[in-house]
Subunit: 420 residues, 2 copies
């Protein structure tokens, strides 16, 4: 008998009908002799509807209340799934994140899990119940207020519970049947991967892959929880995210996949006087606005002793960043702030590049062959990322995927309505 | 400076716009120098929508999960009102019933409040915040599960909080501007009452008046909390429910008002063998099905030693009661079970009837004059109720209202959309 944690996302729960299908799967898992813990996100459109209502009563809603509001969504979906399970012949209890012992920092909207003490969940399992736990939420250790966990919070809840319960398996269900060598909607011959080590999944997630969220993969790696990514529409085994690249013998290390990201924009501060502290001032200003930066490029200074500083950031933060930088102009005396939101990032990920020279060369040649110009390049031990024109993104992904022979023989399966 | 508890019902909160109006009123109360605690029901249609979703996944949903589901509604409305308050220049924190210290029995769907320990509410007030508390819910003392309080639960939450906080005022807001001598939609010259003592309000509530729920009035009487019934659409002072009929000098005691009730049905078990235990068997069977009975009538036994037993109950329980009684037929040997759901109840309430003989006579004469036949009559010290044909209910209410000269000179104000 195993202890299985399953997580179902919003699109798997978007209607009463889908909820009943999910309940059938959960009951089947229980009847196969397992203890089952389920984490549910809010139903399909609920979070957006609640955000809309909030906007109508206050354009800048207080964060504490936003968390109180949004967590109603997961309460609803988990209670409905528990009811559906009951209609299918098993018994279930639903719990809020707080009731399930998910203790967090006090940062509303982006809390981090400090500890998980799931005693009520364990009790429920011991009494033969299936336990449902609302994802994306917890309770602040300091203030005892309800908190939400930020993007991918339900994945993180599932992994954290699996770790705390020493679960045998943690299954993340969505409308895709695993992690692919590239987005199957762009690359028809993309192959489903059987296994991906933690570090590679982290790089893929950071590079635009939306299958699993970065924080949940970090948590899984830290606690050694193997994650299985599966589709809620089929019985296929999916992809297992587990193990470290350190465990892979050098000669077996591979190139794993290609990720792409359309969510970034590029800012260039031109004509920055080239003296110590100018760049620091620019980056400190951005950091003070709580904006994260991704890729950075600083030109060699020209004959006039001026340089351009370029960086990328999330499009959502673009206007705010430009505003903050404009305020610096009198002080720093740079020429102008340029904003370009028609960029895209494409990345190649694989432990194999540590031991195979020439990967960077092959990568750049593949792009050059299809006329794609590299604007910024950024690498880690197991990843190469470049910033290019977003209109060329699909073509670039395919070119790199082909150059590294990542394609399979079967056409990739794309489910109708895959929102990823 | 006073501590004011305000309760807003679902129709006062049915849209973002209404929520903003309610927030304005709350902030005005705060800015007038008061500490303010607010209890909100779920927004207009939310509870029905959630019930509908529940039905779709399980026609007989488990009660624990129904409470987890429905309480999401109050969470949403209270968080939104808190946000709206913030947009209007004050600060507010919302709390669930559990967070506010509302401790209850373990009966899902109909829990009773055992205790209220509102320390987090008090802290919020001390820090200058307005405190919002989700109505209709609490946490079970024994199981630590979330519970809902049954009909009128938000009124009860408000009164219980007012008692625990020793509030100076408890204001219940809806879309009617007070308690009237009769339903203004039936009796155009019905008068708004300035004050109603607890015992009379209890009788009115038990007799069909929907302004305040029985349990909340019982709670208010037990703890001496004065309740003000007001409209959220105007600034009128409303009706105060406070004091005991014992405090009213005999010569000032009045007839207060007329209530009516369309929610009951009548069951007659005919030809019941007239021996000891037959009636007891019938009533025990109904009680075992957890069905409440209201009025009872047992005919004098006829020459064949048989009698008819008649009682009224909520229409919602009608079919179930008939089913349970049919099962008794072989054992008791009665003739048949008759079910009649075209009955209505009309009641006259007033402390004055204790000291004024002839009230019953006047009451019956008024009905006879308009051709209304009395099927069952039932009285208490301060109430007379009769069961009649529901088609004659409006006429009966008007006839009694006139006979006791309860009407005022001004036409009663009826708000468009008054749902009561």
């Amino acid at each position: 008998m195993a202890l299985v944690v399953q997580k179902y996302g919003g699109s798997s729960l978007e209607s009463a009908d889908r909820i009943k299908r999910v309940a059938e799967r959960i009951v089947a898992t229980k009847k196969a002799g397992n203890d089952v813990v389920v984490v549910c996100s809010a139903m399909g459109d609920t979070t957006d509807e609640l955000l809309d209502l909030a906007q109508q009563v206050n354009p800048v809603p207080p964060e504490r209340e936003m968390d109180m509001l949004l967590t109603a969504g997961e309460r609803i979906s988990n209670a409905l799934v528990a009811m559906a399970i009951s209609a299918h012949g098993a018994e279930a209890w639903s719990f809020t994140g707080s009731q399930a012992g998910v203790v967090t920092t006090a940062v509303h909207g982006n809390a981090r899990i400090i500890d998980v003490t799931p005693s009520r969940v364990t009790e429920a399992l011991e009494q033969g119940y299936i336990a449902l736990v609302a994802g994306f939420q917890g309770v602040s250790q300091d203030t005892k207020d309800i908190t939400t966990l930020g993007r991918g919070g339900s994945d993180t809840t599932a992994v954290a519970l699996a770790a705390a319960l020493s679960a045998d398996a943690c299954e993340i269900y969505s409308d895709v049947d695993g992690v692919y060598t590239a987005d199957p909607r762009i690359v028809p011959d993309a192959k489903k991967l059987d296994t991906v080590p933690y570090e590679e999944m982290l790089e893929l997630a950071a590079s635009g892959s939306k299958i699993l969220h970065l924080r949940s993969v970090e948590y899984a790696r830290r606690y050694g929880v193997p994650i299985r990514v599966r589709s809620s529409y089929s019985d296929k085994p999916g992809t297992t995210v587990a193990g470290s690249i350190e465990e892979i013998p050098v000669e077996q290390a591979l190139i794993t996949g290609v990720a792409h990201d359309r969510s970034e924009a590029k800012i260039t501060v031109t004509g920055v006087p080239d003296h110590a502290g100018a760049a620091a001032r620019i980056f400190r200003t951005i950091a003070a606005a709580e904006i994260d930066i991704d890729m950075v490029l600083q030109n060699v200074s020209n004959t006039a002793g001026r340089t351009d500083i370029t960086f990328t950031l999330s499009k959502a933060n673009g206007p705010k960043a430009v505003g903050e930088l404009e305020k610096l102009k009198p002080e720093l005396g740079f020429t102008t702030v340029l904003y370009d939101d028609q960029v895209g990032k494409v990345s190649l990920v694989g432990a194999g590049m540590r031991s195979h020279p020439g990967v960077t060369a092959t990568f750049c040649e593949a792009l050059a062959k299809v006329g794609v110009n590299i604007e910024i390049i950024n690498t880690s031990e197991i990843r190469i990322s470049v910033l290019i024109r977003d209109a060329q993104l699909d073509e670039a992904v395919r070119a790199i995927h082909d150059a590294f022979e990542l394609g399979g023989d079967e056409e990739a399966v794309v489910y109708a309505g895959s929102g990823r």
